[in-house]
Amino acid sequence: MTSVSSTIASATPEDRDQVRTARGPSLIQRSFGPAGHIWVHIVLCLYAVIALFPIALILINSVKSRQAIFDNPMALPTVDSFSLIGFHKVLSNTNFLLYFGNSLVVTIGSLVLIVLFGAMAGWALSEYKFRGNRLMTLFMAIGIMIPIRLGTVSILQLVVALDLINTRTALILVYTAQGLPLAVMILSEFIRQIPTELKDAARCDGVGEFKIFFQIILPLIRPAIATVAVFTMIPAWNDLWFPLILAPGDQTKTVTLGVQQFIGQYATDWNSVLAALSMAVIPILILYTLFSRQLIRGLTSGAVK
C-alpha cells in the first residue's frame, strides 16, 4: 500500500525541483555569468524584505510601550520600552481565545466535511459510469469560478429559516459549499490515478463498494489532502464576509471578524491595535513554520491541473 501511495505522490513539481537543484550548477546561471547570479539574489532579497517588513514591524511594536512606538518605530523593543499592555487590553476586552477557537472549529470542521464529501463525490464521478455523470461534473465545476458570495441574499434567508443564524454550523456549511467544487475536482483527478488493479482485486474478492472506498481509496488520497487543505482552509480562516453577515454574535465571532471589529472600536489605542494584529498573525506564523513545505507542495502540485 505504501509503495502505491508513494508512487502516486512522487514527482510533484517540488520533488522535480529538488532533483534539479541537486544535479549541479545552473546552466541558466552559466549564461548569466557570475554577476547575474548576484543580481538574482539582490532582487529576491529586496522583495523578501518588502514582503516581511510590514509584518515584522507590527510584531516588534506590539511589545513596546506607546511612547516607544511613536518615538522609534523601527527600533527593537528594549528592556525599558518593553510592554505587554496592548495584549492585556485585547484579552480583557474581548473574548479573543474564543474567537480563535471559533475560527479553528469552523475551518477544521469545514475541511473535514469538504475532504470526506468531496472524496465521496470525486470517487463517484471518476469511477462510475452513469447517465448525467458529465452534467454533474460540470455542475460542480461551475462553483469553482462563480463566487458563492453572490447568493448571500438567499443564503441569509435560508440560514434564518433554518434557525442557524449566529451559529458556527452555518459558517461550516457555507464554507463547505464554497470549497466542495475545487475539492471534488482535485480529488477526482487524484483518484483517477489510483491503479485500477487495486480496485479490481478488491472487487474480485467480493468487497463491497463502500468498503472499497473507506478502506482502500480514502487512505490513499492523503497526499491530495494537503492540496485541498491549502485551497480551502486559508480562504475560510481569513474570510470576513460570512462571519460578518451570518454569525456576527460575540459567541460565534471568528478571529478575522473579531480583529476587524476590535480595531474599528479601539482605532486610536495603538498598543491594543498592534497587539490584536499580532495575535491574529502569530498563530499563522507558527503553523506556517511547521508546515510550509507541505503547504507549498500542496499548492504547486494542485496547480498542475
Binding site: 513539481p13 525541483d17 537543484t21 545552473s26 541558466i28 546561471q29 549564461s31 548569466f32 547575474g36 538574482v40 529576491l44 522583495y47 514582503a51 516581511l52 510590514p54 509584518i55 514591524l57 507590527i58 511613536f70 518605530p73 466535511l113 470526506l116 464529501f117 465521496m120 463525490a121 463517484a124 464521478l125 462510475y128 459510469k129 452513469f130 460542480m140 462553483g143 469560478m145 462563480i146 463566487p147 458563492i148 458570495r149 453572490l150 447568493g151 448571500t152 441574499v153 438567499s154 435560508l158 459549499a177 466542495l180 463502500f210 481569513n238 470576513l240 464576509w241 478575522t256 474599528g264 491595535v273 494584529l277 499563522i284 506556517y288 510550509s292 507549498i296 499548492l299 502540485s301 496547480a303
Partner: protein, 304 residues
C-alpha cells in the same frame, strides 16, 4: 469505469451535492430570481420585472453609485494586472532558476503575506502609511520620495490606488506560485536543448518559457478577475462600508453590501441587493465566458 448499482452512486454523491446545492447553487439561482422582485415595508415580495435593474443602471439615485463602483472595480483590476502579473512572473522565474541557493527559503518567506487575511494586511499597511505614525513617511524619505508623502488613504485621488497596491502586495503569492508550478513543468531537457543551441537566458525566457506558460497566465488573469470583482474585505475593514473618501474606494462588493444590508441612513433591501448581485454575476460570467472561449480556441496547452 464501472457501472455500479444506482444507490451506491447516489449515496456517494448525495452529501456533497446536497450541501453544494443548498448553500451555493440554489441560493445563487434564487438571488437571480429575487432580482425581479421588490419588497415593501411589510416584507411582501411582488414581481416587478426589470424595474430594479432599470433603477440601478439608469436612475441617478442609484446609478451614480453603481457606475462609480463598477468603474472603480475596473481600475482595481487593471492595477492588479499591471503590477501583479509582471512581478509575479519575475519572482516565479527567479525561483525556478536551476541551482539557485536558498530558493526554498525565498519562496517560503515571500509567500507569507498571502497566507494572512487581507483584513489584517489592510490594517497593517494603514498603520504604516498613517501620517500619525510616520513610518511610511520615513521610508519614502529614505528613497528620496519624501516630498510625495501624503495621507494616501485619506485622499480621494489616491485612496483606491493605495488600496489596490495593498491588495496586490497581499495577493501576489497565488499567481507567483501558480506560475512557478507551470515553470517547473517545463521539461529540463527542452531548456538544455535550447542552451545547447546557443540560446541565452533572455531568449530562453521569451521564446521558450513564456509561450509554454501562457495558459497559466490566462488562468491567473481570470482568477484575479473573479477575485477582484468580488472584493470586499479589504475596503470594508480599512474604509468601512461607505468606502470613502466620498465613495472613491467603493467597489461592487461594498456597493452590494450597502444595498443589501443597509448602512447608516440607507435601509437595506434584499431585492435590490439581489439585483446588484445579479449584475455582478453577469460581469463575472462575461469574464469567465471569455476566458473559456479563448482557452478553447487559442491558448493551447502544449503537451510537454
Amino acid at each position: 469505469m464501472k457501472t455500479a448499482r444506482p444507490w451506491h452512486i447516489v449515496a456517494f454523491l448525495a452529501p456533497a451535492v446536497i450541501i453544494y446545492s443548498m448553500f451555493s447553487a440554489l441560493p445563487l439561482l434564487d438571488t437571480l430570481r429575487l432580482g425581479f422582485y421588490t419588497s415593501n415595508d411589510a416584507g411582501v415580495h411582488s414581481f416587478v420585472g426589470l424595474d430594479n435593474y432599470r433603477t440601478i443602471l439608469f436612475d441617478s439615485d442609484w446609478s451614480t453609485a453603481f457606475w462609480n463602483a463598477m468603474w472603480n472595480n475596473v481600475k482595481f483590476f487593471c492595477i492588479h494586472m499591471l503590477l501583479q502579473n509582471p512581478i509575479g512572473l519575475l519572482l516565479a522565474t527567479l525561483f525556478s532558476l536551476k541551482g539557485l541557493r536558498g530558493a526554498r527559503t525565498y519562496r517560503t518567506l515571500i509567500f507569507l503575506p498571502t497566507l494572512l487575511s487581507v483584513v489584517i494586511i489592510g490594517f497593517i499597511w494603514q498603520l504604516i502609511i498613517s501620517p500619525l505614525w510616520g513610518v511610511g513617511e520615513k521610508l519614502m524619505t529614505l528613497v528620496g520620495l519624501g516630498d510625495y508623502f501624503a495621507p494616501f488613504l485619506g485622499q480621494e485621488s489616491t485612496a483606491l490606488f493605495t488600496l489596490s497596491l495593498i491588495s496586490v502586495w497581499q495577493y501576489i503569492g497565488i499567481p507567483m506560485m501558480l506560475i512557478y508550478a507551470a515553470l517547473l513543468a517545463v521539461p529540463e531537457e527542452v531548456l538544455e536543448a535550447a542552451h545547447a543551441e546557443g540560446a541565452g537566458a533572455m531568449r530562453i525566457f521569451w521564446q521558450i518559457k513564456l509561450p509554454l506558460i501562457w495558459p497559466t497566465l490566462g488562468l491567473v488573469t481570470i482568477l484575479t478577475f473573479v477575485a477582484n470583482f468580488n472584493a470586499f474585505d479589504l475596503i470594508y475593514s480599512v474604509k468601512g462600508a461607505l468606502a470613502g473618501p466620498n465613495y472613491s474606494s467603493d467597489l461592487l462588493g461594498t456597493f452590494f453590501y450597502r444595498t443589501f444590508f443597509g448602512y447608516q441612513a440607507q435601509v437595506g433591501s434584499p431585492t435590490m441587493g439581489a439585483a446588484v448581485a445579479t449584475l455582478m454575476f453577469l460581469v463575472i460570467l462575461a469574464g469567465v465566458g471569455t476566458y473559456f472561449y479563448l482557452v478553447q480556441r487559442k491558448l493551447t496547452r502544449y503537451e510537454l
